[in-house]
Amino acid sequence: MLTDPAYRTLAALQDGPLHGYAIAQRVREQSGGDVRLTAGTLYGVLERLKERGLIAAGAEEVVDGRARREYALTDDGRAALHGEAARLRAAARLVSVARPRPA
């Protein structure tokens, strides 16, 4: 099971590697502006995902005077993302098929 920030971070990376700022921006876009990850939260999530082998970090490079590093989904990360998505779909189905009880 993934926390919401971890799930959204993996989802942001599904189309290709991104650096930290771009991940936060993608999460914000995908949530319609509802979810804003601060750098402190994002890098905590990235650290834990790296430890579990769900993402891989590239080498640090300096762009416009700022250090950046790209993060990419690993095969395990993609599997974890799809597994979590399936779990959420199954959970959502519980609600969509529910009918109001007759009074």
Binding site: M1, L2, T3, A6, H19, G20, Y21, A24, R36, T38, A39, G40, T41, L42, Y43, G44, V45, E47, R48, L49, E51, R52, L54, E60, R66, A67, R68, R69
Partner: protein, 305 residues
Amino acid sequence: MSVSRSLVRLALLAYPAEYRAASGEELAGTALELAGRSTRSQLAELLGLVAGGVRERGRRATGGCARLAWSDGLRFAALLLLLVTAWVNLQEPSWDAAARVGAPWRQVAGPFLRGEGWLRWGAAVVLPLVGAWALSRGRLVLCAALSFVAALLFVAGELPFVALEYTQAGVDPASVLQAARLGDAVFLAAPGVLALAAWRPDRQPATLSRWWLAVPVLQGVLLSHFWLTTMTVWPVGLLLLAWLAAAHVDARLGVAAFATTLPALAVLVPTTIAGPRWDSALALTLGAAVCGALALARALDREPV
């Protein structure tokens, strides 16, 4: 206004030095980009960095393991209670406090500032301090033994201790006193219970940071303000609130806040029943219980990736 790089660097100090060396530049760059121009988001970034740094320290200390977070949290709670006890006894020889509420055992024990009174006061200070030392060195059984000895000596009337002072206008002091003594005894024994609960057969307890010795200093500052001591039900109320916030960044502190609630309730509940200000005592009891439970819930919520 844009958030300055120096402020970001200051906030980054919350992270462990190795983390800063490996990822500090990248993290600072991302934080500066995300901060933008809105004051709100700049503040959110700075607070996020501080919270993330403390969380990273906690994660490294416990290896991100829920069981170890639980164990360390209980040790923190026990350590805090021991240091609070030592501070209470150090800064105010409690036979005097006992005399103010008409403690019946004071007549048996004799005036505080004579002869054996000093010896008892010294023991009341030294026992929790040695317990705290044992706990910080990972000697949990010794710590538990000292706590239980202190509680037994207190019950026998040989050691002074008053966790909470009462005003007794218009009430029967005997009933309040008995209730207070019961809570105080539980408060003294609680570190022992917590230390034993923190024991893990598969893990040698690590030594704790000396920074925890700052706790009694903080208590001293709080005690120097009368309104704080009365409005927050010293010593736990304000710390619980602080820990409720801290539980957001470190699961161990949430566990510690919860574990501290239990002996605090032992002090508050009997007073609620027997005391003259049952309404405010009840409100504070409920407040402490809710704070502790929320802190624990928040701590447990942090476990998954």
